[in-house]
Symmetry: C2
Subunit: 361 residues, 2 copies
């Protein structure tokens, strides 16, 4: 039986190697790609589909695209979003045409959010946040699903290619709103190829793989359109501060949102699970275990850009010279800098929205 | 358990009174409506929902609408379509604003027909045929679903209001294409109220009642939109020439399509089931039974407009002076005149398409 990963839900991924085997993914090999970014070279990006095709496009300077969607329901984003944007930025720098869609039809169908509300949230927060996180606006095409006739038409065509049982096998939940949401996502993923047939890559968390699989199945059945099946690249979850595999808003004390005020964040960081020892003396003697430390994981995934700086933290922790108290104090300072930069970036980006390229009917 | 009528399928309705009870319909009382048309006053229109509301609109000259859809998959239409158009025409004459949608997104999602193909068929045949059957183009707004952004947006919003189980209970089949098709139909039925909140009536065959019920359920859950639940009016099926309850293309020898060549049609009419007796002598003596005659049913539903003329056929048959041979000869002549008029009407209408009012994005 196929294991169900619910892209809407909360099933935890406990063993990334097992996921690779179970879902028939390729292990991500960063030597395929020039100048891998932080999360690629540090093993946070861990798997993908049809990666060689994208590597070939980069190598041979052939056209390809990178695409992701904004679900404009929340009023915050999270570290997973940050990784998606970083990977989009990476592929943009390698020559990809980037597409960012705002999933307003999905948020209406699956969550009951009115289109106007979704539009407002996207313009006032999500799009500025994506720009602040590094998205290159000059190489990006934006669209709202509700304003993209070609996407809507393609969604209806894709619906005919999927059965209810298949949908249930992939998603578990098959309520009408979810179904319309998923077929629209399939249409989004393929939309750039309506303009020009070319390979494309979708950077995402592993919990979104069902959409990729569904899209690949639909492509195989829509031979008349000659679409390339989408490639994909998956990043690991950012673990919760208490050591759970994934941060979740339902556990706010171990979850960091973007942006977040430093007062609660400082409290949370001070309580984070680390790889420290029972006593300070013991830690000085035998050293800490950064591989068990949620603060180190934050550094590795998000906060410390320079590999030498990260190695230094790793080494001093292992040798017992950097203790958890000092480390957490550093973390608060580094996080303050990061959150400040993000907040300023979002404000700056808001003034640039007029220059963005939106697809309109 | 709710009985399922599959609007896509072929379940036969054997007892119209039972249908009225089982589905909680109102018996159609033509005294509610001024100047009832042929199929109303002859009992072919047999039931409806919320009829008083529409009768009040007519009486008090309040705004209301009448709406129907064209499924542009077939290259012919049938007598059921003719009855729908006649009822639309009736309500137009009583002051309704009429809407005719072309269900191209539905034909893509549920039947895999490309949008361009659907558009071509609608423009070259279906819309001209509707005009030829009496639709008043001056009081009609047309649209293609694929070109009506408001309908698409409303369809996505409606999806959130329906569960999979409910969908299955109503339709049986709940494949994604069917689901998208049905929620789009709900949006179509309500669309005129986005422009202006007003009651509306949907004339249709009883096999389409599931869409009406689903729409009424959705309206009840979308209180924020304050839609009027749609009224509806149902006509009986035109029976097959061999006496089966409904003409079906799958039984071509007992089915008449519109338009149809007179050569096969003459053959079919000559073989039609009548209310004749074993021998000519017996029929002259005790008379025929027009209530069992498929030719008389055609006259009653479609071919003889004047009530006096119809009564005359009824009487002469019952008295045994009009025998089946002569009656069928008359039927061929009458049908020839009808088909000729239809064909000419379709050709005339094709030249008028430029003056129609289409909703565009």
């Amino acid at each position: 039986m196929t294991k169900i990963i619910d892209p809407y839900g909360a099933e935890l991924v406990e063993d990334y190697s097992k996921i690779i085997t179970d879902f028939g993914l390729e292990k991500f090999d960063y030597s395929l790609f020039p100048k891998p970014n932080r999360i690629m070279r540090r093993g946070v990006v861990f798997a993908g589909r049809d990666l060689q095709r994208i590597a070939d496009c980069i190598k041979n300077r052939k056209k390809f695209y990178v695409l992701s969607g904004i679900m404009p329901t929340a009023d915050k984003i999270h570290f997973g979003t940050k990784m998606v944007v970083e990977n989009i930025r990476y592929f943009q720098e390698q020559g990809a045409k980037a597409y960012i869609l705002i999933a307003d039809l999905e948020s209406a169908a699956a969550r009951g959010v009115p289109l106007e509300e979704a539009k407002k949230r996207a313009m006032e927060f999500h799009i500025p946040a994506y720009l602040a996180l590094g998205l290159d606006p000059k190489r990006t095409t934006f669209y709202f699903q509700s304003e993209n006739k070609d996407v809507v038409h393609l969604a209806y065509e894709c619906a005919k290619k999927i059965t209810l049982n298949e949908f249930k096998a992939i998603y578990g939940n098959a309520d009408p709103g979810r179904i319309m949401s998923a077929v629209t996502q399939v249409a989004d993923i393929l939309y750039p190829q309506l303009e020009e047939r070319m390979p494309g890559i979708i950077p995402t968390g592993i919990d979104q793989d069902p959409h990729i699989r569904l899209t690949r199945d639909v492509v195989a059945r829509m031979k008349e359109k000659s679409f390339f099946a989408p490639s994909s690249v998956y990043h690991k979850f950012t673990p919760a501060l208490d050591g759970h595999l994934k941060m979740s808003k339902s556990m706010p004390e171990s979850c960091i949102e973007l942006p977040e005020d430093m007062k609660p964040l400082t409290r949370k960081l001070k309580r984070a699970l680390t790889g420290g020892r029972e006593t300070e003396a013991e830690q000085r003697r035998i050293g800490g275990t950064p591989e068990n430390c949620m603060v180190f994981e934050l550094y590795k995934q998000h906060i410390i850009e320079n590999d030498g700086d990260l190695d230094h933290v790793h080494e001093t922790c292992r040798r017992g010279t950097l203790l958890c108290g000092k480390d957490k104090q550093d973390a608060v300072e580094r996080m303050d800098k990061f959150m400040n930069g993000l907040a300023k970036g979002i404000e700056r980006a808001k003034s640039k929205l007029d220059s963005l390229h939106f697809v309109k009917f």
